[in-house]
């Protein structure tokens, strides 16, 4: 039974409902950026100790490595990005009003990848990866949900 600071009964019911549907957050782990290769977007692949009994180390490292590869693809200097840059310059950057940049396309790909990973691997283990773009590409935030001891299913 949760104490209800507000007056209406409806809110009390809502709080109880919330508690049933969402287990309280236990803690958060932050995977920091790895700057050893310069300013490109890379995250540290070191396995955090808080996740030791939650998820397989190899799986976690694979996820982060894939993320790193995707970001590298977004920031890659190559024929395609030069072409895009030159085209943009010639059209006084108005071309981006109708077209999406390569970087944005890859970011969407990354969002889909993270959602997919959450659904397949992390959510069943009570974890949630937050897309780094929502944290300004500073960290990969992993929310660890409290293990209720009821089992993995709900």
């Amino acid at each position: 039974m949760l104490p209800c600071p507000s007056s209406s009964r409806g809110k009390c019911k809502l709080l109880r409902l919330q508690e049933l549907q969402t287990p309280p957050v236990s803690s958060k782990v932050f995977i920091q950026r790895d700057y050893t290769s310069g300013t490109i977007c890379r995250f540290q692949t070191k396995f955090p100790s808080e996740l030791e009994n939650r998820v397989d180390k190899q799986q976690f490292e694979d996820t982060i490595q894939t993320l790193n590869n995707l970001y590298a693809e977004a920031e890659k200097l190559g024929g395609r990005s030069y072409l895009e840059g030159c085209l943009a310059c010639l059209t006084a950057y108005t071309v981006f009003l109708c077209l999406e940049t390569h970087y944005e396309k890859v970011l969407k790909k990354i969002s889909r990848f993270i959602k997919d990973q959450n659904e397949k691997i992390y959510a069943p283990r009570g974890l949630l990866l937050t897309d780094p773009i929502e944290r300004g590409l500073r960290v990969v935030e992993i929310t660890i949900f409290e293990d209720r001891g009821v089992g993995s299913g709900r």
Binding site: L2, P3, P5, S6, S8, G10, K11, K13, L14, L15, L17, Q18, E19, Q21, T22, P24, V25, S27, K28, F30, R33, Y35, T36, S37, G38, T39, A74, E75, K76, L77, S81, Y82, E84, G85, C86, A88, A92, Y93, F96, T101, Y103, E104, N118, E119, A123, P124, R125, L128, T130, I133, E134, R135, G136, R138, E141, T143, F145, S152, G153, R154
Partner: protein, 481 residues
Amino acid sequence: MHLGVSESMRECEYSQISTRSSTPMETPYKKKTPKRRKWESFPGRNKFYCDGRIMMAKQTGVFYLTLVLILATCGLFFTFDCPFLALQLTPIIPVIGGVLFLFVLGSLLRTSFSDPGVLPRATPDEAADLERQIDVANGSTGYRPPPRTKEVVINGQTVKLKYCFTCKIFRPPRASHCSLCDNCVERFDHHCPWVGNCVGRRNYRFFYMFILSLSFLTIFIFAFVITHIILRSHHSGFLNALKDSPVVVCFFSVWSIVGLSGFHTYLISSNQTTNEDIKGSWSSKRGKDNYNPYSYGNIFTNCCAALCGPLPPSLIDRRGFIQSDAPQMAPPTNGITMYGATQSQQSHMCDQDQCIQSTKFVLQAATTPLLQQQTSDGRTALSLGGPCTSLPLGQPTPPTSTPSLSCHEVVDMLPIHTHTHNPMAHHHFLTPEEVPSPPGMLPCGSPMGHSPTVQAGFYNPASQDSLHEDSVRGLVKLSSV
């Protein structure tokens, strides 16, 4: 099902229990607070226009001067010189002039209006996590923590990453905190008042295009004005020619703009920022083995990377809507949610109720001694110290100790207030009653950017200036209620 849980967290929008909410509760799964965009609660000192599409620095006076100078010079050129030149020489001259002018204007506006690469500030959870790591590393939890730096080896060079007390992050390499805009900017070049914005990773190429095209434009105009004068002097003498065509005083600007373009061309080719060049970070004078780890080795690649490389999107989601992140908060029984805030600054760090109560208490406590002792300002500060210092003890404090900070700030504020302007002090005394309604105006947990700066002041006395400034600003806001 956990799967269901993760989905429900994303899509289910719970109503946050809000003691201040003026809107009545509707159906449970709808947002209650009016939709506000993230730019409206952006913590930096930036101005936003067109509903968050345009972002500029706070002081834009010089930018308007730039615009006026360019428009005036080109206007005079097109009005007085072009007709003569088009007839005497070729009509292509005004066409080229027009194209250059449009390019200059476009790149100027693009530089001024875009996000230079601002790094969003750390969420409270991140900041707390970093603090924990630093405390573990340092082994000390004194009031004044030691300066925080992290060393990282990039391409064989040791680079020091500094901790930003305002943004609560370790700055990425090449990032710097702009004190004018109060933001950390990626690949910070400089803050340009002429352009009214910082120049950083996302708008450096536009800035370079601007100064390059402006140098071409000024040389073009200068050359053709001279040509005009010379041609006219054949007909009617030199002095008459000068009279007919206004002497464009862009002689000095030609040299300064051309010089600046040359300087930035050098910077681009060596892949350095103005900041690094001025500090001499990669200069060989610092040491034999000192070299720029970011350079690609050859000029062509450096230029291509700076000008034609991929343009990263803005990291601050200006036009996104602020979401109150209720799903991940523990039930608000203890009043303070340690891990509540995830999405944005708007998800309040301290419970609103507690914030309001604490600030109310402080203000009420402050008004009584102040009303009695309006003239003796020195004693006022001391009398405020009493009720304020007892405040944090009575309530559980989060790691960021916001209630005590609000107290600290109010203590700071009120003496300043009474020192400077007594009528305002009177006005200020009216506010305790009105305090519950707009907590957005309160210094405590204010999404308007005071709290990050206030906490910065708490951790580092070196940023007292910003704390003072913010407290004065917060004071002005309070008194305007």
